[in-house]
Amino acid sequence: MPISEWRTDDHRIQEPECKGEERMSDVAAQPAPSLLANGWIRTGLITAAVIAAIAIGARIDPSGTIHKVFVDPFQQMVEAPDLLAQTVWEGLVSGVLYALIALGFVLIFKASGVFNFAQGIMVVFAALTLVGLHEKGVPAFLAVILTLGVMFVLAATIERVVLRPLVNQPDIILFMATFGITYFLIGFGESVFGGNPKQMITSELYLPKGAIDAKILGGLVSFQKIDIAAAVIASLMIAALAVFFQYTRIGRALRAVADSHKAALSVGISLNQIWVIVWFTAGIVALITGIMWGARSDVSFALEIVALKALPVLILGGFTSIPGAIVGGLIIGIGEKLGEFYWGPLIGGGIESWLAYFIALGFLLFRPQGLFGDKIIERI
């Protein structure tokens, strides 16, 4: 439970989603509205400026910078639509996987107000446990079940050893505690599994291999079967979580805790149990993410770095919204792939790692709380 909900001098108002209509509890604190303050007007103006620049760019020197930035990439898209489709597909798959990682962060943040820095290493830990158990001779699906057991034990241990003693501490302390969990899991994981990269047990889990090559748009667009499987599994996972949250008793309890810890406590919901459940759910998400990323590359501690890609997704989608994680993941995934492919060569390439943050910060100009995040207003 975040300390801000427990303090007697609670001054923060967390507003629910308000479907296009902004609710302000303190009208006097609101500055006088200006035309440019409206996000949609600003978006329209910037779009118009971009279109104008493109129009101007088309008339100017083809070797000039404006032409290269505003005209060339779009010409390439039109001239090679198959490459555009391939780029968008690659972005879509990456986006779904980013969304999966971000989902793990969102689940924990919603229920406990803790930004779980350890989510990335949980992905690595879950995948390594699965592969490590299989290496010891455990059949693949039994290894999956045992790994889920390990993730449950981890969730219960974190709740008992880390979260419970820190109840009533400032949020930043809990955040720092998740750093501790991260470094513990890195060290523990390396001691148990070693630092060597391992191969994901793709065939043993009956995950498909190979590609479907489609001759479309005047070229070849290749769809890796593992990527299709990742997209399908991630979608099923998200749907299952939505049903779980919406229709089950535990799901309703989780939502109650997310809305108000005090209210949830007052109707007899055990916060401790909820925290274990939510960390375990994040563990399940971590395992699925680990399997999918591991199948695409390898299972190694470098995956933890990839998990940090969820940060711009969260900035964009909001820290408390499951749809935000999904939409944010897709925008970041597709945006960074298009950016790297069409605009990256203009500045030497390798822009993907920071472009995601750039896109997220661009969105923040219009919606500081993220696309679907709760609008928080603090009285001063």
């Binding site: 090679a80 690659e90 060597n196 990256g344």
Partner: protein
Amino acid sequence: MMKSSMIKGVALGALLAAGAVVAPASAQDTIYFSNNAYRTGPFSGSGIPIGDGMRDYISMINERDGGVNGVKIVYEECETGYDTKKSIECYEQVKSKTIVYSPWSTGATLAAIPRAHVDKLPILSMAYGLSASADGTSFPWVFIPPLTYWDGASVMVKHMAAELGGMDKLKGKKLGLIHLDAPFGKEPIPVLESLAKKYGFELKLYPVAAADMQNQGSLWLSIRRDRPDFLYNQGWGAMNPTAVKEAIKNNFPINKLVGVWWAGGDDDARAGGAEAKGYRSLNFNAAGQDFPVIQDILKHVVEKGKSTTPKEKVGENLYNRGVYNSMLVVEAIRTAQKLTGKKVITPEDMRRGLENLNIDEARLREIGMAGFASPVKVSCTDHSGHHKAYVAEWDGAKWTRKGDWIEPMKEEVRPLIEAAAKDYVEKAGNWPKRTESCEKSS
């Protein structure tokens, strides 16, 4: 009573004195060698086999021969996680003890070079680090045998030309360089740019940020668009298996993807499964267990339970690379012992040993490494030797040699190295002028 106390006192004094005399003698019977290692972190996949090979060779020398000319080597690792900051901490910790600094990262080497010239501690950056440091006149304390990244890049160009049918066929072709966006990855760029200009081929650069080592989707889309004829992978750690997998996924001809020698790990190739068969990598050591030196490691170290390396991992390519690196250290110690007449050498002696390293075919045979590597000779002015490399090919289960050893384009590389060394010294400001004298043989 008083007499008895006096006798006891004298006896105690004698004992203490003896202890004082014995203790330093014991310390002097060893040589301390600290090695930077990374058994943790995103680069551990490459760091572990190399660290294992280095440690096991030194253990074998201690176990089989009782050390080098009777002096045991105390080998320790300093864990860096391939982090330059930690490498510098390691440098500071060991600089007063170790006879040579072994950075195991180009970034760490770059950071250590100015310090080492002040502290007078030799650096052995075996086939990595600053290519310009092959100029012994400007960098008397840095050694980079058997060849530099610039030599490697020129070998890659020669290999590409051979595959195409001659140097004249390079004109109009495209060579892509996939590289880690870090000092290590960027090292071959100047020489590739120079060779591209001379031979008329186009060089395309594909940088990979450390954060995206396992997320190379858009890079490979660019490769698909640019259609390079060959790809040279200056990769390390988790970047390599991902590159192999992406090449397969994108239907890039796997035998036209050639890694620098650090991209030739068994795990790097294995990740691609059966379709990785044909993946290539430059190499300067042999893989496998069929060498007397590897058999001795198995016999004296691994089978006696004195190593943590699994038996089946002994002989893998990067393991053998570690063995080769430790062999260079041991042979430099021997050379220093011979030059100075001392058994326990200092870092200054080690510098002389490295500078006069001369491992010919006969010596390779003596140390059980015939066919394992090509001869190495370092000199006062040439701290690399610019030795030959070969192209290794993954046969689906192991690395095999494909074709003959290839000489680097020394005539192209050496002037660039000397110019780069001059440039480095000028930019460094008060760079110490070489005062160390050259041996007659060097």
